[in-house]
């Protein structure tokens, strides 16, 4: 039929974008491996990878740097970027709000609070100096808002708007508490909390990847499976209801999944911003708002973006600039530029 062909053609174009991003990720990955204080060429990195996989290592020193230091960071950049952008896409679609991001429900403020408490306590209780304790605290606290919302919803019927607003309010409350802590803290503690907040990928090792990776894959898969009901949420609560989707239950479930997934990465990296908010918007400019294509597109774009930001960050020195800073600095003008160019076909009125 004539009409259907147009639709399929448009769909093919969308998957092309996704494929393109995926290919670029592969290329950028090798690029990421070659950047750093110890110069290793692009082709060499590729060779080192192959050698490592086949077990035929010729240069153990370079192998160690590439495989043990740089590769986990690069891989994690992809994971985090994908997680944040995917979470952002889900939140924006479901909450029908262009300003939503995965942190909207208070995940980031909770994580920051947990980490701050750990940092403050670490001066008196040596236990809290351990990295993993900090991570666990951040993770635990970041899920408090989600749990509060779930508890609320057991007692009485909570509308979707209230769910959202409770999350935002918790975010503000936690921010206030963190503010208090930071103000009354000593200079060193303040500096430490601040740098945790800024976020970094630099501490990633092969040991820290498995858990967040597993959680991300499971949650991400579930979210993508749910694309149809998330999509219907765009029609508004009444219409969604009449099309067979329970709006309150859907919001609760999906928000919990997004919070879990986001918490799993944030507790390792700190709060890397921008990708979760603007990533989905950029993906939407290329792929449209249909959830079936938006979710994978946002995920691959987010992964690509953060990977490139990471490359740039590492160019500027061993510890480099924080990746969140870089992503905002390049991403913001990029976003505005795209907004201007696509004014007519804009993602916005």
């Amino acid at each position: 039929m004539a009409g259907k062909e147009d639709y399929y053609r448009a769909v093919r174009k969308k998957w092309l974008f996704v494929l393109l991003c995926a290919v670029m990720i592969a290329v950028a990955l090798i690029l990421a491996l070659s950047i750093g204080m110890y110069e290793i060429g692009f082709a060499d990195c590729y060779r080192i990878l192959i050698e490592h996989i086949t077990g035929n290592i010729t240069d153990p020193y370079a192998d160690d740097i590439v495989i043990n230091t740089r590769l986990p960071i690069a891989l994690f950049a992809i994971i985090v970027g994908a997680v944040l952008a995917l979470g952002g896409a889900v939140m924006q679609t479901m909450l029908r709000n262009p300003l939503a991001d995965p942190y909207t429900m208070g995940v980031s403020s909770g994580a920051l609070l947990g980490a701050s408490i750990a940092i403050v306590l670490s001066s008196t209780l040596p236990l809290f100096n351990e990295q993993w304790v900090r991570i666990v605290m951040a993770f635990g606290f970041s899920l408090i808002p989600a749990m509060v919302i779930l508890l609320f919803s057991f007692k009485r019927r909570v509308t979707s708007t209230k769910i959202i607003l409770i999350g935002i309010a918790m975010m503000y409350i936690f921010s206030a508490i963190v503010q208090l802590i930071m103000i009354t803290a000593s200079e060193e503690t303040l500096a430490e909390i601040y740098s945790w907040r800024v976020g970094t990928l630099a501490l990633t090792t092969w040991e820290t990847i498995p858990i967040p990776l597993a959680i991300s894959i499971v949650c991400g898969a579930v979210l993508m499976f749910h694309y149809r009901r998330i999509n219907v949420m765009m029609a508004g609560t009444k219409s969604a209801h009449s099309m067979g989707v329970d709006p309150e239950r859907t919001i609760l479930v999906e928000i919990t999944i997004v919070s879990l997934m986001t918490a799993a990465v944030v507790c390792f990296t700190g709060t890397i911003g921008f990708v979760g908010l603007v990533g989905p918007h950029i993906a939407r400019l290329f792929v449209g708002s249909d959830t079936k294509h938006l979710l994978p597109a946002a995920a691959v774009f987010g992964g690509l973006f953060l990977l490139l930001a990471n490359c740039l960050a590492r160019v500027s020195g061993e510890y480099g600039l924080p990746v969140g800073v870089i992503s905002a600095i390049i991403g913001c003008p990029l976003f505005i530029f795209i907004l201007i160019r696509m004014r007519r076909k804009s993602a916005w009125r």
Partner: protein
Amino acid sequence: MADVEIRMGKEEYKSTLSRKITFLLICLGVLIVTTLISCSVGTGYEFTKTAQVIWDHLTGVTYPIRSPDWWADYYIFNNVMPGVIMALIAGAGLALAGTVMQSMMENPLADAYTTGISSGACLGAVVAIIMGFSYSTVISGAGIVINAFIGSMIPAIIVILMVRYVGNSPSTIILIGTALTFFFNSMVTLVMITASAESLQDAYIWQVGSVTNASWSDMPLMLVMTLASAVLVQLSAAKLNIMSLGEKSAKSLGLDVVQFRMLCIILTSVLIASIISFTGIIGFIGLVAPHMTRYLVGGDNKFVIPGSIIMGSTVLVVADLISRSLMSFGNIPLGVVMSFIGAPVFLYLIVRRKSQKDVF
């Protein structure tokens, strides 16, 4: 028969009007009393003594130098009052800006920082502080203020220029503002990361918002801006009412929406810049004061504007009072107190509100 009904209708309207005006006057009274109370807190002087001192000062009574009264006068006027008055003016200005933004953006959750001004100001101030400016001398204190002001104007100008190219709708403005906020926040982060722990702390304290370093020389600019803006906005109250009906309705009622929105952005930007350059980023007032006021006097901007101004001043004066009462526990700046007041109030407002349609 119909005439009587019309007359009764008018009577009702008039009495509602006078009720609202009375309410506003009561609020004003509360504000004055609170201010006076605040002046006496933490000084060791009781309320009546403080009121006496202020009255005497205003009526031109002088004391023999270094007499107990002289000390009282000196202390209250040079140490306590600047902070309180600054809180008063800042509360008024921020609430005013918030009211305008909410009407203009047709979004009850918009506040004046949405366009990125606060991040720009932060950047300016932080750069100044890290570069070695501090409050220790008047000149470098002014340097921080000037830098903050310049910094805040950059995102404002970008937004205004962008709006010409990309489109005028509130969603566009919010998106651009958010992107700019991210951008400038990360610049701030960049600067702070490279700073020493000491400067970091100073910079952070500035950001959080406080009035502890206030002095009388800071007042004129803030006061003039706030007063001028208040007058201008009050005169445009009707236009603001129309704006909140939505773009199409507003246009059909003869309002040049594009131009008006632009003017609003410019006005609020300059107003806010002139306040936060001195105080740092005090949050929540711009968001919460208009809502509280609307809850009490209804949605007509003719009343909401003066109401918000008074409400904003009162809340901030109270916050300052709390902040100074807690002095014995440590230096807890105004901005932090405001966060603790603002967050629960915000929560209360939204949970209680009967949401007619999806807020989002």
